[in-house]
């Protein structure tokens, strides 16, 4: 095999294409003694030798620029940290805003939906007051309008409100408030920061209580003000009914406090949200049913003292001034029982929260 000899000389100046590293043009010359390369063979095969001796080519032989990894730089921060009230506000805000928007405590969609349903259902009194005002029938208004019995009924009364509304709302809310901090270890985030155990419990308590309060107290207030607005009630009526309205507000606060303290104590002994929720419902509804059965079978009402709902109802009836349905013992016994229940629940809650670990749970 003969290799065609070539005398052509190719100069290949390379244009500096890469801005990063200037490329020095390296002329390549081919002659007889030049070792055979692909370029020479290519030239031999395709070169016409007519004017293409001066053939020049521009090739992009610039080396591929190396990638650069940008190493993150530590950014210092010279801001001031706010005092205790701001830290507590952060906990409260985190739990409250979680009901309405993303980025805060993630309450589940079923919980949020249930709260909405209960809120709308709690406004039924308002709707009925408006209807009775529109119809203008005093008979209807005496059934639906503001009265001692209806105010009591709004907070503590009658099925399904006493069974399905507020106990279930409390159970859904308290379920994971502390237990999930145990489950996910997020308690370490709180306690490795300047948050005291008292502040932690107080803010969790307050946030759950406020959410319940938003439903119960706002709907109660709307009911009362709907009556004033639609029936054109004057100052005399307001002065006359305000004490029973305030007594109802107090009953509602007592209910919220009791359900929250029992619920949070259950949440503090658990690592999931199911047990505290179901246990709170069992305590509220189970004791009520048990006391009801015993009362019917043996005509003994004393077991109502172990039922949080019945104690609340009894105290509520006394302070609002409705006809009492528990007549075998004084309402002060129910009040004492409520105090004892709350004390026990808060004791369990504080003991369990003070045992929550930062380093290991």
């Amino acid at each position: 095999m003969t290799i065609p000899e070539t005398t052509s000389s190719i100069t290949a100046p390379v244009a500096p294409v890469a801005p990063v590293a200037p490329i020095i043009p390296q002329p390549v010359e081919y002659a007889a003694e030049t070792p055979v390369t692909g370029k020479v063979r290519l030239e031999a095969a395709w070169g016409s030798t007519e004017g293409d001796e001066d053939f020049t080519t521009t090739t992009s032989s610039a080396p591929k620029p190396e990638g650069q990894v940008f190493k993150p730089q530590y950014q210092q921060w010279n801001g001031e940290l706010n005092p205790r009230w701001m830290r507590n506000w952060a906990i409260l805000r985190h739990h409250l805003l979680g009901i309405f928007k993303k980025g805060h405590r993630p309450w589940g969609m079923p919980i949020r939906l249930y709260l909405l349903v209960v809120f709308i259902a709690s406004l039924s009194d308002v709707g009925l007051t408006l209807v009775s005002a529109l119809i203008g029938d005093s008979g209807l208004h005496s059934i639906w309008g503001v009265s001692r019995d209806n105010l009591y009924g709004h907070v503590l009364g009658f099925f399904p409100r006493n069974m399905l509304y507020y106990p279930v709302v409390a159970a859904l809310l308290v379920g994971g408030v502390i237990s999930e901090d145990r489950q996910h270890g997020t308690s370490a985030l709180y306690f490795s920061r300047p948050i005291t155990r008292f502040d932690y419990v107080a803010m969790k308590f307050l946030s759950v209580a406020l959410i319940q309060g938003l439903i119960i107290l706002i709907s109660l207030s709307l009911y009362y003000f709907a009556e004033i607005a639609t029936m054109g009630r004057g100052w005399a009526w307001i002065i006359d009914t305000l004490p029973m309205f305030l007594a109802t507000v107090f009953s509602a606060i007592l209910l919220i406090f009791t359900y929250t303290s029992i619920g949070l104590s259950l949440s503090s002994v658990s690592k999931g949200k199911f047990f505290p929720g179901i246990a709170l419902l069992s305590i509220i509804l189970g004791t009520k049913i048990l006391a009801f059965i015993v009362s019917n079978l043996f005509d003994r009402e004393i077991l109502y003292l172990i039922s949080p709902y019945d104690c609340l109802a009894h105290v509520g009836q006394a302070i609002i001034g409705t006809q009492p349905t528990y007549d075998q013992y004084s309402w002060t016994w129910s009040l004492a029982s409520l105090v004892a229940m709350n004390a026990l629940a808060l004791y369990v809650l504080t003991t369990r929260v003070s045992s929550m670990e930062v380093t290991r749970e």
Partner: protein, 336 residues
């Protein structure tokens, strides 16, 4: 010198009933990165809780960043970034909001906390992933998020409890690099509790070794490693003769088959080894300096030196034989 100390304890004792978790601990931790070592039950967690001001000491006193651990717990926790060993994140929250909330818990304004959360997540390598739910994160990403939570307020001291726990090699490397970067370019101090000696070695200049609530050793890792230099040789033919010859010359030798490690105590140890090999007609196929890992040294201290308090100076002044990292009996080592 006193100003350079970030943690100082004097006779720090913590008892739970009859159980003494920390026993008269006298520590001086300088600025920079310090590794907190010790087996399970050594008192590491109790020590961390004590310096965070979360539990009351039974006896003794201590300061962290110049603040009293008995009375200024809140202030200490404001100036420390704590990265717990275990999960401490809500899996249903997005990382950006979790980090922001951790800043708010320190008293940061929500807007500032959010801006700072972006910065810290970028710094720990989660810039592009910050709007994902933490529940979908890998272990490495969760660890990085925990670190971001600890760094959000730019603390003077970061306490990282097992920061590379459960991470794969690349995630571990990244975590170690980030911590190192925080110390070197951020000029922050890190107290790193870990059982992975390798990681401690890569991040820290100093170490504290706890055992059964007592301080077993403390000092510079470099010093610790310096006291136990050995030369490793691979011998072909006449290994036993060579071993005998070197022992006869008073050299510290331990052997496993053809591999021997000789204590590098003198300048001319290498020449002496070669001389012995020439005398007995043994071939040395390979010779190199053997640097004990921190793990070897850890075992050495625990097994050979007892658990009394030791500083780097104590270790360096111990007799060579006592400092020997001895191999177990089945490997040809002598009794400790």
């Amino acid at each position: 010198m006193q100003d350079d100390l970030i943690i100082k304890t004097t006779n720090l004792t913590k008892s739970y009933g009859p159980h003494v978790a920390l026993n008269k601990l006298n520590l001086s931790v300088p600025k920079g990165a310090t590794g907190l070592l010790g087996p399970n039950g050594a008192g590491k967690s109790t020590f961390l809780k004590t310096i965070l001001g979360l539990i009351q000491t039974t006896e003794g006193e201590g300061t962290v960043l110049g603040l009293d651990i008995r009375t200024q717990g809140d202030e200490i926790r404001s100036r420390i970034g704590y990265m717990p060993e275990y999960d401490c994140l809500n899996p249903e929250m997005e990382a950006i909001h979790q980090v922001r909330y951790s800043g708010e818990l320190l008293g940061m304004n929500p807007t500032i906390a959010l801006a700072r959360a972006h910065e810290t997540l970028q710094y720990v390598g989660l810039g592009e992933q910050r709007y994902r739910n933490i529940g979908t994160y890998s272990t490495g990403m969760k660890q990085a998020t925990k670190l971001a939570c600890a760094l959000i307020h730019d603390p003077e001291l970061i306490i990282a409890d097992e920061p590379s726990n459960g991470l794969d090699i690349s995630a571990r490397d990244y975590m170690i690099e980030t911590l190192t970067n925080t110390v070197k370019t951020g000029n922050r101090s890190v107290l790193m509790a870990s059982h992975l000696m390798d990681d401690v070695e890569r991040v820290c200049e100093n170490f504290i070794l706890l055992h059964k609530g007592k301080l077993a050793a403390q000092g510079r890792i470099e010093d610790l490693k310096a006291f136990d230099r050995e030369i490793e040789i691979h011998v072909w033919g006449g290994a036993s003769r060579l071993e005998e010859a070197m022992i006869a010359r008073g050299m510290g030798v331990r052997r496993e088959g053809r591999v021997m490690r000789i204590l590098h105590e003198q300048e001319d140890t290498t020449s002496l080894i070669l001389q012995c090999a020439a005398d007995v007609g043994a071939q040395i196929r390979r010779m190199h300096e053997y640097e004990a890992s921190l793990e070897d040294l850890f075992l050495s201290i625990m097994e050979n030196l007892g658990y009394e308090v030791k500083t780097s100076e104590d270790l360096l002044s111990s007799p060579a034989q006592a400092r020997k990292v001895d191999a177990p009996g089945y490997m040809g080592g002598g009794a400790a």
